[in-house]
Symmetry: C2
Amino acid sequence: MRIYENPQPAQWAELCRRAEQDNSLIAERVAAIVERVAEQGDSAIRALTEQIDGVQLSQLEVSAEEIAWASEQVSEQVKQAIEVAMKNISAFHEAQMPSEVRVETQRGVVCVQRPVAIQRVGLYIPGGTAPLFSTVLMLALPAKIAGCREIILCTPTNKQGRVASEVLYAASRCGVSRIFKVGGAQAVAAMAYGTESIPKVDKIFGPGNRYVTLAKQLVSGRNTSIDMPAGPSEVMVMADESADAEFVASDMLSQAEHGRDSQAMVVCNSLALAEQISAAVERQAAALDRADYVAESLAHSRCVVFDNRDQMIAFANEYAAEHLIISMSDAWGVANEITAAGSIFIGNYSPESAGDYASGTNHTLPTSGWAHSCSGVNIDSFMRKMTIQELSQDGIKSLAPTIIAMADAEGLQAHANAVRVRIEKV
Amino acid sequence: MRIYENPQPAQWAELCRRAEQDNSLIAERVAAIVERVAEQGDSAIRALTEQIDGVQLSQLEVSAEEIAWASEQVSEQVKQAIEVAMKNISAFHEAQMPSEVRVETQRGVVCVQRPVAIQRVGLYIPGGTAPLFSTVLMLALPAKIAGCREIILCTPTNKQGRVASEVLYAASRCGVSRIFKVGGAQAVAAMAYGTESIPKVDKIFGPGNRYVTLAKQLVSGRNTSIDMPAGPSEVMVMADESADAEFVASDMLSQAEHGRDSQAMVVCNSLALAEQISAAVERQAAALDRADYVAESLAHSRCVVFDNRDQMIAFANEYAAEHLIISMSDAWGVANEITAAGSIFIGNYSPESAGDYASGTNHTLPTSGWAHSCSGVNIDSFMRKMTIQELSQDGIKSLAPTIIAMADAEGLQAHANAVRVRIEKV
């Protein structure tokens, strides 16, 4: 891990840089997949699944029998863990439910802001070696709490045409309406355009590989919203003398095992601490199975040392980490000055993995600096806010001069006229 | 205006279709402008402004003297109207301010959802024949209320290098930090990448022509968030026997004057009413100055007649109008069943122009069916929600078995380890 002491602000942008992803080579292929699914529906899905995933699907939808069978495969221990996580995630997301806002801005002019659930949402859950059933909880529970009418889930199968039992079990526990055995860009296209089997949705959520990410970006410019732009996962740990180097190292490694592109950053206030953390990372890394991933990921790691707290905070805000662990004596004070981060973990006993799984916060968070402008997934992500207004006869009469003066000044005659025809009849 | 009686649901998608925009021809040009500004900064801005707008700019930023001079040009009547509108818009948006949410999900596990202002926002205000100073109010006031630290505004000048006085006056009244005389795709690129003169922002807001829209879409896939996808403006009026055909017609025409692509739709419950509205539209249109715009826009208009209320509502939800006027006897009852619309106007005395200018609601709203998944601009648009969590030693101890069981089942060894190293020391 390279250590930088008191870098000048001019260097910060370079130090905040993430591993670049060049997606231009696959962009055409993704666009072709999306077009094909939009035009040919299920038959394209079947052909692409055979071609790309090497799986022949008899039916696209997971049956009730498959779900029942899967539920029997999940261990009691994992089932209990899922119950605890569900309880905490539900409690935190229920508390986020927005209320209707109603203001009479002037006599006879009532304005309402009403939260309404997005009707149809689609969740994408990646396949691969590890079944990411925790992501099912993080997306399906808030969707259910928000009141989404239809919750579709797409996930690729293994070579035997089977979906991980934990994913099916979690989906059935969390109120997912229908599950489809489709992955990759073709799944995103199916949910954006709809096919004979798979319903079109209004918004697509969830992580995925570069094909999935590109397909989401593509449809988000056309007809379907997406949760957020996606990039490789990342963590920043802010540490001072109150931090425990072993804990910091363990958090950096739990980030590093996510993938080769992951980034773990440290911002601390002494070279001695930086070196302790670096040594602890090497020692702990040696004991891990995913050593290949971890080593590549750690090559992107940087440790930045600043003499003063203000610069530590300014640098953290410029980086805008997906996960920000603050292991500092005044952790809450520092957190109060953080303007850009996905999720903050306070003190020595709040590892990222707590939030990844079970504390209650959502683990779908903005990466690559998007925390400057985007929230992580929360209850709002599954709702829209619609305004409603009602003017009484008194209301339109008293507001008429204002509307007419502004419409006239903007040269919009018919806008003024819509008020005049009413005033004449009041 | 073409009238459709009881169309079958299979026809609805066609009836809900918006005027298509083919942007593929200008996409390359927009991409080239964005690249050039990203690479060459101010010099590219100056060259492009001369080339595209035919204006040579001595300085890009509007000076304090220009603002002071502009303020003297605005009539007292317009100033008073702006004050009324500001008061109402501020009152409604202040009431929308979210609060921090704090939940102890289980003993020793505290989760917080904290709203934080987006630090740097950029507002785009179109130039053209009409100075859209109302949009300055709709974007700058919520940005200020949300607490954005820096509010940048870009707007093109006229051939004399001047910005409309009303725009400058409104910007200075609403707390805009800095104003730049730049328009088009180059303005969007400047705010996304920053130049020597124009600061990079985190999120870009505001309407614009197809160049602006495409540039916003482009940067939203790279490094800068945008308010929402943009399309031509539209209104739907739901009417029954309680409606006044003259009022309905005036609302349709105030939509039609926005531009040639605008769409005005009627959904009503009798052919007689449909014909009355159609006749009123023709009569009123004849008296308008912007007759050319209006006629072209009215060519996209459709009137759909349904025998029953449920179908009227289902069709309105499928269309997902930017503006939905409900001129029906049970207007609130109908509104309660609307799941997709940008903003709703209740009854006979709530014309769209009230919300466009001064009632208090925001006029930056989702078009082209995006109201299925997007909100209009509101206080949330200028804020992020960040989560914070703190586990005590008790908290991590009681949550450890859950986190470890889930991490093990997902094959994420280092995630489990980050908990184990802590438990060992508790």
